[in-house]
């Protein structure tokens, strides 16, 4: 081999390396795109995709830390157990009921509060402040506070009822009353969140639209239904997605207020998952329950996303 040919070889190798390096340092658009997306993809994979896959896998296992036995693949046995589990059905039904009651409830109350806070009067700031406080309060705090409000002996609710001449109730002694108290608390807590999002939405509606409607001859009610509501729709849908998913995951407030009682009559799916995984250490069954909740949340999100994209398509 001659010196020159060897030199050429070396030069060639240097050249390919430089090409590789420059591709890395000065990538074309596709490579650059992939490179820039990579950190986000890795992060999402690590914190979302991996745990969800692991959860799915665990839901097919018989894995109970209390048994000391190693994990065993049992297929759909956990899901089958669920079908026969009355507490699961009760908790799921309670969760759906809480969602169906508190989400529209919080929307209506929140919309009202937001409209009130958006009025051009001086009462605006106390209303806005009172919106912030329930929102800033941790959920478990709210649960604890309302648990005392509804306490049969020391609670303010019974006290007020007695003062106006009505008999008080042992709220947490009756499944219906306890459930009502929980729904009331969740609505109270959630409507401030709704109101804040809706208020932000309201403020993006130009005032001139209302002036144009004034000139066009539409009254306040008509303006609300013809302008405010349609223009708020995207905001409301987003608020509903957040709220519905949070409602499906309801845990803190019933946990603090009734602990699921009396009996298991006010337990929610999230509480039942927590109980099975954290208290009973039955990770297999707990994961299967969590998969059900995951599917419920995904269904709700899909419906809402469809609502949004349907709207944009029409635009």
């Amino acid at each position: 081999m001659t010196v020159t040919s060897r030199l050429e070889q070396v030069a060639e190798r240097v050249e390919t390396r430089r090409a590789m390096l420059s591709r890395l340092l000065d990538p074309d658009e596709t490579t650059l795109g992939a490179l820039l997306l990579a950190p986000a993809a890795v992060l999402l994979g690590g914190v979302i995709v991996y745990p969800v896959c692991k959860l799915l896998y665990t839901s097919f296992l018989d894995l109970s830390l209390t048994s000391g036995a190693p994990a065993r693949f049992v297929g759909l046995a956990n899901f089958q157990q669920m079908l026969e589990d009355p507490v699961f059905w009760q908790a799921t039904w309670n969760t759906i009921l809480i969602t169906l009651i508190t989400v529209p409830g919080a929307l209506v109350v929140g919309l009202g509060l937001a409209l009130l806070a958006n009025l051009p009067f001086n009462i605006r700031w106390p209303v806005r402040l009172s919106l912030l406080i329930p929102w800033a309060l941790p959920l478990s705090f709210a649960g604890l506070i309302f648990a005392w409000f509804f306490h049969s002996e020391y609670g303010v609710v019974n006290d007020v009822l007695n003062r106006v001449g009505l008999p008080g109730a042992i709220w947490f002694n009756s499944p219906r009353l306890a459930f009502a108290a929980i729904c009331l608390t969740i609505t109270w807590k959630a409507s401030s969140f709704m109101a804040m999002i809706i208020l932000a939405g309201l403020q993006t509606i130009p005032r001139s639209l209302y002036e144009a409607a004034d000139v066009d001859g539409a009254g306040r009610v008509r303006q609300f239904f013809e302008i405010t509501l349609p223009l708020l729709k995207p905001t409301i849908v987003v608020a509903l997605i957040f709220r519905t998913i949070a409602a499906l995951q309801t845990f803190d407030i019933p946990y603090m207020m009734t602990g699921g009682g009396p009996g298991t009559s006010t337990a929610t799916l999230a509480m039942y998952i927590h109980q099975n995984t954290v208290s009973f250490l039955d990770l297999g069954y707990g994961s299967a329950l969590a998969v059900v909740m995951f599917i419920l949340s995904m269904c709700v999100t899909a419906v809402y996303l469809r609502m949004i994209s349907g709207r944009e398509g029409a635009r």
Partner: protein, 357 residues
């Protein structure tokens, strides 16, 4: 169609008086432009006519009715907003038909009126689109269409062209003028652009700090500005001002330049010796032709525009601009004799800044 009459109209926000008791009679079918710099109260006045702003004092009549306490919808007016205020979730058809629907018109009637208006404005092909799918000019036209479908007594325009580019503005301006000729409704139009005011108005109302500075036809306000402010506001490039003193039948600019008072016509009567004036001369009234009167100056800047040449020079401490024919090309630094027609000179009082008669 109806006349509009403002009587001692007043508006205050707290102690801040925005409109200071203005009087204005607008005849039926007239096109009146309210013009002035921002903060002059022109938009507030228009919004008070519309009923969007409450009235602190005075009276507004539309036709024979005092409308002070009436809400906008009962004033039988229509308004085109600066941002058009089209309902973004409604189609063009629904936008234009909204006021008819609200007022209980039948579907056929509304459809016919919308179609007629759309045809008039050349937007019939856009009826099924939403505002988001339209260009700026198209939106502007839809906003006008929404105003005319109902055939109200008065149209109110609030700076309707300010969101358009210069070329479109010229086109739409012509369109508005054509529209007014076609339907003949009374129009009150607010703008800060004196060109719009001059080209569109039957009469111009020049506002300044909540007061009316002058009311008149475009010719009147151009030829006989009532004040330094009006002189400076109307016309482009704007009127030149320089200080001068009356002395021995001459206007003395204190830098050696003098003009004979006798040549100035009527206004020279109040030129008592020693009185100071603000002298107003429009750039287009300078000439390179041989004249008896003129000014000696040194050329500072020359701006050839193609159609004209603008020459900047200073007289008595003020910088003046002359609009000269395009072939005139003095060089900066050159000493120049620049002629003018003394009858076109305006004299203003130095303290009141009002014109001297």
């Amino acid at each position: 169609m109806a006349s509009v009459s403002l009587c001692k109209l007043d508006k205050s926000y707290g102690s801040y008086r925005v409109v200071k008791g203005i009087d204005l009679e607008i005849a039926d079918g007239e096109f009146v432009v309210l013009v002035g710099p921002s903060g002059c109260g022109k938009s507030t006045t228009l919004r008070m006519i519309a009923g969007l702003e409450s009235i602190t004092g005075g009276e507004i009549r539309i036709g024979e009715r005092v409308v002070n306490a009436l809400p906008p919808r009962e004033r039988d007016i229509a308004m085109v907003f600066q941002d058009y205020a089209l309902y973004p979730h409604k189609t063009v058809r629904e936008n234009m038909g909204f006021s008819l629907k609200v007022r209980g018109a039948s579907a056929e009637e509304a459809e016919a009126k919308v179609a007629a208006a759309a045809n008039m404005l050349g937007i019939a092909h856009l009826l099924d689109r939403r505002p988001g799918q339209l260009s700026g000019g198209q939106r502007q036209r839809v906003a006008m269409g929404r105003a005319i479908v109902r055939r109200p007594q008065v149209f109110l325009f609030d700076e309707p062209l300010s969101n358009l580019d210069a070329k479109l503005r010229g086109e739409v301006r012509a369109e508005i003028k054509r529209l007014h000729r076609a339907i003949g409704t009374t129009i009150v139009y607010v703008t800060h652009d004196q060109v719009e005011a001059m080209t569109l108005a039957d009469r111009i109302v020049i506002l300044r700090g909540g007061d009316i500075e002058q009311i008149g036809t475009p010719d009147e306000v151009y030829n006989n500005p009532a004040s330094v402010f009006v002189g400076g506001f109307v016309g482009s490039p704007s009127m030149n001002f320089a200080k001068a003193k009356a002395a021995g039948g001459l206007l003395d600019f204190a830098d050696g330049n003098r003009l004979p008072l006798a040549a100035l016509g009527g206004c020279a009567m109040s030129a008592v010796d020693g009185r100071e004036f603000i002298v107003g001369i429009r750039p287009e009234h300078f000439t390179t032709a041989a004249t008896d009167t003129g000014l000696n100056c040194v050329v500072e800047v020359v701006e050839p525009l193609g159609s004209d040449t603008l020459v900047h020079f200073s007289i008595g401490g003020s910088t003046l601009t002359a609009r000269l024919p395009p072939q005139a090309r003095p060089t900066p630094g050159e000493a120049l004799w620049i002629g003018l027609d003394p009858r076109k000179i305006h004299l203003f009082d130095t303290s009141t800044e009002r014109v001297v008669h």
